[in-house]
Structures are given as structure tokens and as C-alpha cells.
């Protein structure tokens, strides 16, 4: 028994129409092992997972799990039989309560068949407490941040007591602290003999929790190794299929081009309040400057950004743009003034799933592409093809429905939606979420280049590194208030973490957790 791996997937083929997504790829996971699964956007990681959990059916190949041939017709069935999945795109029901979401499909009942609400609420609360999340489990899921929703999805998946838990980019919307909590959970699972497949584009995370790594490229498994014998550079090189030397030369820094001195003030936000979370947020952005907005989960970063963009009303404070006081009543006015906003919630606020890559990319640009209301499709196609090429979007054609793209490639299309508008100020909420290492640096470079051409950027990121490396200036939000400001030169991981957690920008460094 011990000689057999817990899971063995061999020679898996899967194609969507004519596009091969998996070609003779394989994956083996031992009992109690944490296996990293990595690869570029569109490499086939999610497809591999979906084939395993029955979300879709393989075209060819063998799967054995726990010593028996494995065949799941649906993720629910997989869950019942010991494989629980946290999907890349959170798929819970936003308008149902947290408890309902956690107990969906296996509700606790009283003997008479009535739902045992009290017990379920209690169970849900306890489950989440283990993750350090203390919230009202009776409230609809949709009113919480993406990070909380992500935690709920994780809690739900783990509560199935599976033998194998799959996490497809589960950390993408979590900040450092929550990631640590998740890692503790993973270690606990491991100690109980539960195996984990862990997909992430953040390499540091892999080294922190994973035992081995499986690398995929273009639908094929190209390497399996223990984490210890695969250093970062080798990993990236294998993933991208490039020379070790070449990768080394390029280095890891992304916003590499030097920043130019910023221009005139573009945006100034003075003590705005946005109910319920934001009380007194102030930010300013100059032309040609990348400003980072840092803060812990729930500090009100996204809400502040949305209020600036007119997506949410603010109750107090002033916003001025290009020197003029502005109070955008809706995003349309903000867009007309030259703002762009790329939401963190790709699925619910970003993509229009059935529409093509072309239409998704030009959604905001549409009025500008039209003469007397009729879309100039030739111009539209020209722009779209240019961006597909420029930022390397992997798709079958511009006409492919966006929902068929891999998560990272969807994100690129959404970025292009705003880049093609030529905005004066771009608000990026987690711009590189779910984007692979190579493409992340491409995008960061692009953002820096645009900034050097005069674009102002307000960037929210839960990745400290991205803020530290990318931003010229950093504003720190805590509990809905701006508590400090740092210039790039003053900021270090320690000072920034300390300020985010408990204090102002110049608070004594307090040794942020590593």
C-alpha cells in the first residue's frame, strides 16, 4: 500500500474543441504530501484539476486514487469520495448566507426534516474561527471582501474531511497574514495524512509549504522534483521553457525601468468617508507616478478606490481630479474624465463570460469606437489584436468566449480593457492576481512604461513586494483611515508591515512576520 501513491494521473489528454489543453500529462501525489502544481497561464493546471474532480471529463488517460481506479462525474461526487476542490474562481452563492454556503448540499436537519439552523450557524462559526475569521455567519456572503469569500471557500472545502484537498490559486486574494493562517491549516492537514495539491503563481509560497513540485507547460508535465532540489531560477526556467542563464540575466525585478520624476498633481482625495468601512481616507497621485495603497484585509482599500471611481458614493470629504473638484456619480463620469478601474473581482465585476475576448476588451472603449452609434469593427479588431500580441494573451482567437480562457489570461484581457482607453489615471486593484511570474513582470514593466509616459497609477496589492518594488509612494490605510505615507526610499518590508498593522508611516519598525 505504501508503495502506491495516493493519487496517480497518467497520460491525461483533454481537448476543448480543437484546442488541446492537456497532452499526455501526469501527476502523482503521495499520502500526506503537499504537491505544488505550477506553470504559466494557460499551461493546463486548472484543466488537470477539473479532469480529476469531474468538472469535466478526460479524453484519455488513467487515474487511480487510494488504490482504486478513479472516475468522478461531478465535483460533488468527488467531494463525497475524498477529493475536495477549492476552485480558482470562487464559486459560492453571493446572495446566500455564509452558513448556507458552507453547508450547501449537506445541510444538517432535525429529525422532522427541518433545517437545524442553530447547529449549522454554530458549526460555521467554529469552522471559520479556526481560520481566524470572526464574522457574522448569518450575513450574505456577497457583502464580504473577496478575501473573506476565499476563506469561506477554503473552510468549506476542508470541512469535507477529504483525503486530498486541491487549492487552485487559493491564496491569490489573501494577504500575508491570512496566507500564514492557510499554511498552518495545510500543515495541520498534512499531519493528519491529508494530501494537498497547491496551485500558486507566488513562488515563495511554494517554498514555504510544498514538499514536491510538478511543473506543467503547454498542457504537458515537464518536471517533477522535490522543492528542496529545485531553486527558484531553475523553477522559473523550467516553467517558461527557457535557458537558466537567460532567466538569470533578466532578474526577478519587475518594475525595472527607472522612474521619472512625477508631474503635476492628478488626483487628490481628502479625508473621504465611505460607509461602512472607510472613515477618513486621503490619497494623492501625480501624473507619471505609481502610488501604492497598502493595508490589511478590511482596511478599506478597495472601497476607497471604488469611491474615487464613482462606483460607490462617499459621504464626506473631497475628491479633486486635475485640479478640479469632482464627485463622480457613476463610473461612466469617471471614465469620461479619464479614469480607469480594474476590479479585483474578475468573475463578478470583470468578465462578461459569454462575450468574446474582443468584446470584453473593448467594452469600455465601445462608445469611442463608434460613429453615430455603429461600432467600427475593423478598428475594434485592430486594437484587440494589437493588445493580444503586446501582452501575450493566450487564446484561440479574438472571437473565443472569455470564459474559456485560463484565469490569468482573463485577467490580461481585463487589464487591456483599460489600457486601450488611454486613461490619465488608472486604478488597479490586485492587477497581477493569478498572473504567472513571466507575465507579471511583463505587466509591471508595461505599467511603469505607461507611468513614465505620464499615466498616474493607484495600485492596490496584497503582495507587499509588488507595492514595495512598484510604487513610488505608498499610502497606508488602517481601519478606514490613512495612517501614513512613505516614499519608496523609506519603505522596507518591515516598516510597511508595521505601519499596516499598528501605526503611522513612521512608527518604529516592529519586525513584521517573515
Amino acid at each position: 500500500m505504501a508503495s502506491h501513491p495516493l493519487l496517480s494521473m497518467q497520460a491525461i489528454d483533454k481537448r476543448f474543441g480543437v484546442v488541446p489543453a492537456l497532452r499526455a500529462s501526469f501527476l502523482e501525489v503521495e499520502e500526506g504530501e503537499v504537491m505544488a502544481l505550477i506553470g504559466e497561464n494557460g499551461a493546463g493546471k486548472s484543466t488537470m484539476i477539473k479532469v480529476l474532480n469531474g468538472f469535466c471529463q478526460k479524453d484519455a488517460g488513467e487515474i487511480t486514487f487510494d488504490g482504486r481506479p478513479w472516475q468522478a462525474a461531478s465535483p460533488q461526487e468527488a467531494q463525497r469520495n475524498g477529493i475536495s476542490t477549492i476552485f480558482q474562481e470562487i464559486n459560492l452563492i453571493p446572495f446566500r448566507t455564509i452558513t448556507e454556503n458552507i453547508y450547501l448540499g449537506r445541510e444538517l436537519k432535525h429529525r422532522g426534516g427541518f433545517l437545524a439552523w442553530r447547529r449549522m450557524h454554530e458549526g460555521a462559526r467554529r469552522l471559520l474561527e479556526a481560520f481566524g475569521v470572526d464574522i457574522d455567519v448569518g450575513a450574505p456572503l456577497g457583502q464580504f471582501s473577496t478575501a473573506i469569500q476565499q476563506m469561506v471557500a477554503i473552510a468549506r472545502a476542508i470541512s469535507f474531511e477529504a483525503k486530498l484537498v486541491i487549492m487552485d490559486e487559493s491564496t491569490s486574494s489573501l494577504d500575508e497574514q491570512e496566507v500564514q493562517v492557510l499554511f498552518q491549516t495545510i500543515r495541520r492537514l498534512k499531519a493528519q495524512g491529508v494530501a494537498v495539491v497547491f496551485v500558486s503563481h507566488k513562488l515563495d509560497e511554494l517554498y514555504a509549504v510544498c514538499d514536491r513540485v510538478t511543473v506543467m507547460r503547454d498542457g504537458k508535465t515537464v518536471a517533477v522534483a522535490s522543492m528542496a532540489e529545485m531553486d527558484k531560477l531553475r523553477l522559473v526556467a523550467t516553467m517558461l521553457g527557457r535557458d537558466l542563464a537567460e532567466v538569470r540575466r533578466q532578474g526577478a525585478t519587475a518594475f525595472s525601468e527607472a522612474a521619472r520624476p512625477p508631474g503635476a498633481e492628478l488626483l487628490s482625495v481628502d479625508s473621504i468617508a465611505v460607509s461602512p468601512k472607510v472613515k477618513e481616507a486621503s490619497v494623492s497621485v501625480r501624473a507619471g507616478e505609481i502610488v501604492g495603497l497598502a493595508g490589511l484585509l478590511g482596511s478599506g482599500r478597495t472601497e476607497t478606490a471604488r469611491a474615487i471611481f464613482g462606483a460607490e458614493p462617499h459621504q464626506a470629504g473631497r475628491i479633486s481630479f486635475e485640479g478640479k473638484p469632482q464627485h463622480f456619480a457613476d463610473p461612466r463620469q469617471a471614465i469620461a474624465a479619464g479614469l480607469g478601474f480594474c476590479s479585483e473581482d474578475r468573475k463578478h465585476e470583470g468578465i462578461i463570460p459569454r462575450m468574446s475576448v474582443r468584446e470584453n476588451m473593448t467594452l469600455a472603449l465601445l462608445p469611442a469606437l463608434a460613429r453615430s452609434g455603429i461600432v467600427n469593427e475593423r478598428e475594434q479588431r485592430r486594437i484587440v489584436l494589437r493588445f493580444i500580441k503586446d501582452i501575450g494573451i493566450k487564446c484561440a482567437s479574438a472571437e473565443q468566449p472569455i470564459r474559456e480562457l485560463s484565469g490569468g489570461n482573463q485577467q490580461k484581457v481585463l487589464l487591456a480593457r483599460w489600457l486601450c482607453m488611454n486613461p490619465k489615471l488608472l486604478i488597479l486593484d490586485e492587477p497581477t492576481r493569478g498572473i504567472d511570474v513571466g507575465a507579471t513582470s511583463e505587466i509591471q514593466k508595461l505599467v511603469r512604461r505607461l507611468a513614465n509616459d505620464g499615466l498616474g497609477v493607484l495600485m492596490i496589492s496584497s503582495e507587499i513586494e509588488e507595492i514595495l518594488e512598484g510604487a513610488d509612494r505608498i499610502f497606508i490605510l488602517r481601519d478606514g483611515r490613512t495612517v501614513g505615507q512613505m516614499s519608496r526610499a523609506d519603505a522596507s518590508e518591515a516598516t510597511l508591515m508595521a505601519a499596516m498593522a499598528h501605526g503611522s508611516g513612521d512608527a518604529a519598525p516592529h519586525g513584521g512576520e517573515h
Partner: protein, 341 residues
């Protein structure tokens, strides 16, 4: 019925989304999208083979005339459904348009106006009024965020009442060839109402495909939050689709009274909302929004009509034909559900 259709689609679909299932049988996806065309082709072939006198101009005109008003209303409905809404008031708006019109061409409102002006008014004013009522629907939906099914229920109930009050509940009978030409006139041997229907279908298809407004309609239906954040004027788009639906209902109301040489506020457009929704669903427009085809709606209406015709022409009683119609709708909706990702 329409309530059930929406519920059937939306509820199970969202729970399905939760656990995620592949749009597994891509055959179902294909059928949901193009199956209507295939079904229509099969029906025509079947009739060509088995139904006597099928391939005549007479059959062609009769069958098309039967569905004209359903298709015209259905086109407006397609736009509304494309945004994720629904319009139950269409039948009542038809009644309003039909009730207002005779007063113009009979010279009752403006006895001294020249006849051609009265005819023109009898066409333009009722359509405009129906459009205004559509605007009211849109205002409720977009301005107050009332669920479309509830918002349009208001005029579904009150609209017919308004029409009845306007005519004192009387049946208006008339003979006015100049006006009735919209239904009874022929161009190139084909009834004018069929030309009108085709024009409406093609115009709407073009708008959906080529104009900013059309794309925005589909964007709103596909993901409203994303559309709003991308600067799509969601409220205005929603408002306008209900106006379009009102205008279509107005046209249909006029055709009905022109065909019947009579306007009866109690009967005009009775049940049309359900026929229109059925045609839209069978035609391949997604009831949850985000994908729409007006030619599909035409084909959907034709299928429902031809199934009934085929059964009747081959000696099956009308009650059985109704069951066949219900079955068609169920199949269409089922196919749509299979396809969801």
C-alpha cells in the same frame, strides 16, 4: 407560466454554478443555439413529404400571418430578456394601442382633420403611447430597481384596464381599408404585415449586432456589475429595451385590430406575452440574459406554429397540439440549462 420559466432557469442554474459542472455535452450547447433552425428544417421537410398542399403560397401566408404579432412582440421581448429582464405587459400595451387607434381614423377625436392625417395619427400616436408606457416600465425597473417581473406586472394588470376605460368597454367595429392595409395589404403578393414583421426582426438583429446600444444590451445581461464598471449606462440601456418592447407591442396591437376590423380592449393581445416568451426561449435566446437572437425568435415562433399546424393538418386535436407546444418549451429550456458553464 413565464414565472415558471424564469424560475426554472435561474434557480437551478445558480446552484449548479456553485458546485460547478462542465458545459458537458457540447452537443446540447450546439442544439440550444442552433437547434431551432434544425427543428424548423425538419418540420418543413416533414410537411413537404406528408402534408398535402403544404408548399403553397396560401399555407405560407396563413402560417406567417398567424405569428406576425407574436414575432413583433417577441423581438421587443428578446431585447428585454437579453438584459436579463422580462416584460409581462406587452399584451396589455397592445390593447392600449388598439383601443386608441380607431378614434383617429374614424374621425372621432379630430372630426375636422383631413383623413390622411387622421390615418397617420392613428398609426403614430398609439405606437408612441405604447412606447411611453414601455418607458414607465423601464423607469420602474431601472430607476427603482424593481424586479422586472413585478414592475411589468403593474401594467399587465392596469394596462388592459386603461384600454377598457378608454373605450368604455365597448367593441369598436370599423371598415377603413386605408388603415387596415397594414395587415391586409399585399406587397409582391405577400401580406404587408409579414414585411413589417421581417423589417422589425432584421432591424433589431442589426441593432444587436452592430451598434453600441446592442452590445451594451448584451453586456448588461451578461454581467451587470462588470458593465456598470466599464461605463455602460446600465439604467438607460434597461429603460430603452422596455421602450423598444412597448413600441413593438404598439405595432402589434395595430396589426391585430386591422386584421379583425374591430378593436376589443378585452381581447387584443390576450396571452401574447406568454407566446412571445415561448418563441424567444425556443429560438435560442438565453432566458437569463446575455445572449439574444431575433431571427431565432422568428424561427421559434415558426416552430411552435408549424408544430401546431402539422398536428392539426394530420388530424391531431388541438388539445394535443398544446401539449406539444409545452413540450417544445421544456426542451428549449432544458437545453439552455445543459449548456450553462
Amino acid at each position: 407560466m413565464s414565472v415558471d420559466l424564469k424560475e426554472m432557469l435561474i434557480k437551478p442554474a445558480s446552484s449548479e454554478e456553485t458546485e460547478g459542472r462542465q458545459p458537458r455535452p457540447s452537443a446540447a450547447a450546439w442544439l440550444s443555439r442552433y437547434g431551432a433552425y434544425l427543428a424548423l428544417a425538419l418540420l418543413v421537410l416533414f410537411n413537404l413529404a406528408f402534408t398535402p398542399h403544404f408548399a403553397t403560397m396560401q399555407t405560407f401566408s396563413v402560417n406567417l400571418a398567424q405569428i406576425c404579432t407574436i414575432v413583433i412582440v417577441g423581438v421587443g421581448m428578446t431585447l428585454v430578456i437579453a438584459t436579463g429582464g422580462i416584460d409581462l405587459s406587452v399584451g396589455s400595451l397592445m390593447a392600449i394601442a388598439g383601443a386608441i387607434a380607431p378614434g383617429f381614423f374614424t374621425g372621432y377625436y379630430f372630426p375636422s382633420a383631413p383623413p390622411y392625417l387622421n390615418i397617420a395619427l392613428s398609426i403614430a400616436v398609439p405606437i408612441a403611447v405604447a412606447g411611453l408606457f414601455g418607458l414607465f416600465n423601464g423607469w420602474l425597473v431601472a430607476g427603482f430597481r424593481i424586479q422586472p417581473i413585478i414592475a411589468t406586472l403593474v401594467l399587465f394588470i392596469a394596462g388592459r384596464g386603461i384600454a377598457q376605460v378608454w373605450t368604455n368597454g365597448d367593441l369598436q367595429v370599423f371598415k377603413m381599408p386605408a388603415f387596415q392595409a397594414i395587415a391586409l395589404g399585399h406587397v409582391l403578393g405577400v401580406p404587408l404585415q409579414i414585411w413589417i414583421m421581417l423589417a422589425v426582426v432584421i432591424l433589431a438583429a442589426w441593432v444587436l449586432r452592430r451598434t453600441v446600444f446592442g452590445r451594451q444590451v448584451l453586456a448588461v445581461g451578461g454581467n451587470e456589475a462588470a458593465a456598470r464598471l466599464s461605463g455602460v449606462p446600465v439604467g438607460r440601456v434597461k429603460c430603452l429595451v422596455y421602450v423598444a418592447s412597448g413600441l413593438c407591442s404598439g405595432v402589434a396591437g395595430l396589426i391585430v385590430i386591422a386584421m379583425n376590423s374591430a378593436a376589443d380592449a378585452n381581447l387584443i393581445g390576450m396571452g401574447t406575452e406568454l407566446d412571445a416568451i415561448a418563441a424567444v426561449a425556443v429560438g435560442g435566446t438565453l432566458l437569463s440574459g446575455g445572449r439574444a437572437t431575433t431571427t431565432g425568435t422568428l424561427v421559434g415562433a415558426l416552430i411552435i406554429q408549424l408544430v401546431r399546424y402539422t398536428l392539426l393538418a394530420n388530424g391531431v386535436p388541438d388539445s394535443a397540439a398544446l401539449i406539444a407546444k409545452a413540450a417544445l418549451i421544456v426542451i428549449a429550456v432544458w437545453l439552455q440549462r445543459q449548456e450553462r458553464a
